[in-house]
């Protein structure tokens, strides 16, 4: 990891938030709270790592929140359906997980294919699929809530709440995703191609890079990570509804931007994204723990941080050019 100003800025903000949190409430640094914050960051975090690739290649995906809700819905339906034949065991849960992951890959492929093969703007395509997935989950739940069978829910609980000591599975999954994401972006040919395409896709094409395939793969990767995030999310509540995963897409995009990845693409910072996710969830957590500001203002503070992050990064960029 290169410690230049762009990565350092968000990191300083994160450290400042941790110190602020510790000063405001001693409970902030308690292991239980840390586990809670990290585990809740994991869903957005894994999605945001995938989003970093999509944005770095010059794309965008607005559908991830709805996609997660939809995947949770079909996984729950699949598990409830398989329950009588397979039984109340890990086989059924594994089936649900596979449905989630394959569904995520398929949904990502759908987005990517519409963008690269039908040549429709990413914003339009994913605005469309966002509406489609959201509507499908609401319809599947008949306007209410889809619930996983009670027995299965109890059985699956450890997937979210269990782990190694206080490090729960979602935290482990998030950490592994981040490490793998950073490695791929930094050290693999795919990562280099993603950055090249976001920087100038014509140059990439003239360098014999299969631009459409690489773009498509970023959406498939994101879909896969949405699927994985959903695998961890379903055991938490054991249900899905029309309001599951609302605004996740915006939180994920915000985390990517705060982390220093340019919205126009070309430069991807997976570590930055991780820091961005943590900043967003720490603000939420601190407001809940401290009585200083109403938690209802959470969104406003996050909004200020997003705009501020971009302004600071832009000033640094012009300073670099001198």
């Amino acid at each position: 990891m290169k410690l230049d100003l762009h990565t350092l800025g968000p990191l300083v903000a994160l450290v400042a938030l941790i110190i602020l949190g510790a000063l405001l409430n001693p409970a902030f640094l308690a292991p239980a709270n840390i586990t809670n914050v990290l585990a809740r960051s994991a869903f957005i975090g894994m999605i945001a790592v995938g989003m970093t690739f999509v944005i770095t290649a010059g794309g965008l995906d607005l559908s991830v929140g709805s996609m997660a809700a939809f995947l949770a819905g079909i996984a729950i339906i699949a598990m409830n359906f398989a329950l009588p034949s397979v039984g109340e065991n890990w086989g059924t849960i594994l089936l649900g997980m596979i449905v989630c992951i394959l569904g995520g890959i398929a949904a990502g492929y759908l987005n990517g294919a519409l963008i690269t093969k039908a040549r429709i703007e990413p914003f339009i395509v994913t605005l469309g699929t966002m509406g489609i997935f959201r509507s499908l989950i609401t319809w599947m739940a008949d306007g209410g809530t889809l619930s996983l069978d009670y027995g299965l829910r109890t059985l699956a609980r450890p997937v979210y709440y269990g782990g190694i000591g206080w490090i729960t599975w979602p935290i482990i999954a998030f950490a592994l995703t981040a490490i793998a994401g950073e490695w791929i972006m930094r050290h693999s040919r795919f990562g280099r191609h993603v950055e090249a395409i976001g920087s100038n896709d014509r140059v990439a094409r003239y360098s014999a890079i299969d631009v459409n395939r690489v773009k498509l793969m970023t959406y498939v990767l994101l879909g896969l990570l949405v699927g994985l995030a959903t695998v961890l999310y379903v055991p938490r509540l054991g249900s899905a509804s029309g309001s599951t995963g609302t605004l996740w897409e915006l939180e994920a995009i915000a985390a990517v931007i705060i982390g220093g990845t340019a919205l126009k693409g070309g430069t991807g910072r997976v570590w930055g994204t991780v820091v961005g996710v943590l900043i967003l969830s720490l603000i939420d957590n601190i407001l809940n723990l401290a009585d200083l500001v109403s938690p209802y203002l959470n969104g406003a503070i996050q909004g200020v941080i997003i705009v501020l992050a971009v302004v600071l990064q832009r000033e640094k960029r012009t300073a670099d050019e001198r």
Binding site: Y206, S207, A208, I209, G266, T267
Partner: protein, 494 residues
């Protein structure tokens, strides 16, 4: 009486001094050519004259009085108009809207018809058939340049500063440009003309100032300097052997193209490139030269047969072309050749990453490749970790050449090898091209510069309207013969 002048002007950026005690005077009714290699300080001088930069020392005199324009627009209000090398046009607005951008006619409601009529009149003077209602994005590059020129003319300039205005124009449009320059000169406008094309400087300029390393090294009146003399003054040494001696191609065919067609652009072109040959392709801009090259290497859908080393080789993608030992160096260095915001290393290896590690990219090997390339192609980068966009044009071109050569191709198609680069680097690139041919590689060189295509090639094919109009070889390789073929002029030819 001098309109605009620099008196003893020096300019520094931080610790780096880019201009040293420059004197320059623009007289009304005179075309003053400013020439020099890239980095000699031409653009800094233009920026100071047009109010975008202030001198560190010395004075800018306007009608004999010292002035300090706070900004470009302020200078423009005084009648100092610049035609920049990069386009300053809004792609989604019409031609008329661009010409009057910022000075729209009409009150609260714009007077569209008056602006359209005035634009039509300006374009008519330039003999340009462009409709004022066309969107800029629908215009070709030469047409966009004509719009830039029309826009400058509409400002009624007292001083007109032109930065390489003819670089992207076709033969006929260059004629209209010269005509307008003559007219403006007659009207008493002072013109500063920057160009890399020395033939054009010799033709147009009443006075020539030669810059080298930020100093004025020579000032001359019309007729006092030959083209060779200008080049020598710019480089600071005699340019012996500007073009390397011709080679000795074998009779063995390296690449045979039969009936290549790119729908709408290239119609049934057949050609044979011999081993060790440098084959020039001339023709007007828009005659299908680039499309032919892109059709051969799989960047454009094309039909026809391609044989490499005698064997039929279907090529449907650039990957296929690489596998067959073909490479293509684009004419559009900035938009299709290099990632300007990425480092030298990333640019060099971008097309050949699979050679640098199956899973984990081997940065050390990439760095070694960069070391080798900088040495082999004499890429002069102040810093290793700089981005490609900060290199001078000539060094960018050398980096692009190194990138193109990294897959070790046997057949190389180079589109505009020296566009927008300085004389010294040009000579280097010509030497590289010859060396590659002497190694037994075969090259196709596409060029709009007549002297270049004649100087570098063993044989020249001329294209016109998507077809092969003819070939010239040996003593028949003259500018006259090529222009005749390119323009489709019948009569006595080669």
């Amino acid at each position: 009486m001098t309109v605009l002048a620099l008196r003893n002007v020096s300019k520094s950026f931080g610790p780096i001094q880019v201009l040293h005690n420059v004197d320059l005077a623009l007289e009304p009714g005179e075309v003053h050519a400013l020439i020099g290699e890239n980095g000699a300080g031409k653009s800094t001088i233009m920026k100071i004259l047009s109010g975008f930069l202030d001198p560190t020392e010395g004075e800018l005199l306007f009608s004999g009085q010292p002035v300090r324009f706070g900004s470009g627009p302020e200078a423009e209000a005084q009648g100092i108009v610049v035609i920049h090398q990069e386009f300053n046009l809004a792609a989604d607005l019409t031609v008329a809207a661009n010409v009057f951008l910022g000075r729209e006619l009409g009150g609260f409601r714009l007077d569209h018809s008056a602006m359209r009529a005035a634009t039509a009149k300006l374009l008519d003077r330039l003999h340009s058939p462009i409709d004022p209602g066309t969107l800029i994005r629908d215009l070709s590059v030469p047409d966009r340049q004509m719009v830039e020129i029309a826009k400058a003319l509409s400002r009624n300039p007292r001083v007109l500063i032109m930065d390489e205005p003819s670089a992207v124009l076709t033969h006929r449009e260059v004629g209209s440009l010269y005509e307008q320059i003559d007219r403006l000169r007659g009207e008493g406008v002072a013109i500063l003309y920057c160009s890399h094309r020395l033939d054009e400087v010799a033709h147009l300029a009443d006075r020539i100032t030669v810059l080298r390393d930020g100093r004025v090294v020579r000032q001359a009146l019309r007729g006092e300097l030959t083209e060779d003399g200008m080049a020598a003054a710019m480089v600071g040494r005699e340019l012996q052997d500007f073009y390397p001696p011709k080679g000795n191609p074998s009779d063995e065919p390296a690449l045979q193209i039969t009936d290549l067609t790119v729908p709408g652009k290239v119609h049934g072109v057949s050609l044979t490139l011999r081993k060790g040959e440098v084959l020039g392709i001339a023709g007007l801009v828009g005659s299908g030269r680039t499309e032919l090259a892109e059709g051969i290497v799989g960047l454009r859908a094309a039909t026809g047969e391609i044989r490499v080393g005698g064997r039929p080789t279907p090529i449907t993608s650039l990957r296929d072309a690489f596998a067959a030992g073909l490479a293509y160096l684009t004419e559009d260095r900035k938009e299709a050749g290099l990632l300007l915001d990425k480092g030298l290393r990333e640019n060099l290896t971008l097309a050949t990453l699979e050679r640098f590690g199956a899973w984990r990219l081997d940065v050390a090997a990439e760095d070694a490749a960069l070391d080798k390339a900088t040495q082999e192609f004499d890429i002069r980068a102040p810093r290793r970790d700089m981005v490609a966009g900060k290199l001078s044009g000539g060094n960018q071109q050398k980096l692009l050449l190194a990138k193109t050569m990294l897959p070790d191709p046997r057949i190389i198609i180079i589109d505009e090898p020296t566009r927008g680069i300085d004389v010294g680097t040009k000579a280097q690139i010509y030497a590289f091209i010859r060396d590659l041919a002497a190694e037994g590689r075969s090259l196709i060189v596409i060029s709009s510069e007549m002297t270049e295509v004649i100087g570098i090639s063993d044989r020249v094919l001329v294209m016109r309207e998507g077809r092969l109009a003819g070939a010239v070889e040996g003593n028949a390789m003259t500018e006259d013969n090529i222009v005749r073929l390119a323009m489709g002029v019948t009569g006595e030819a080669a």
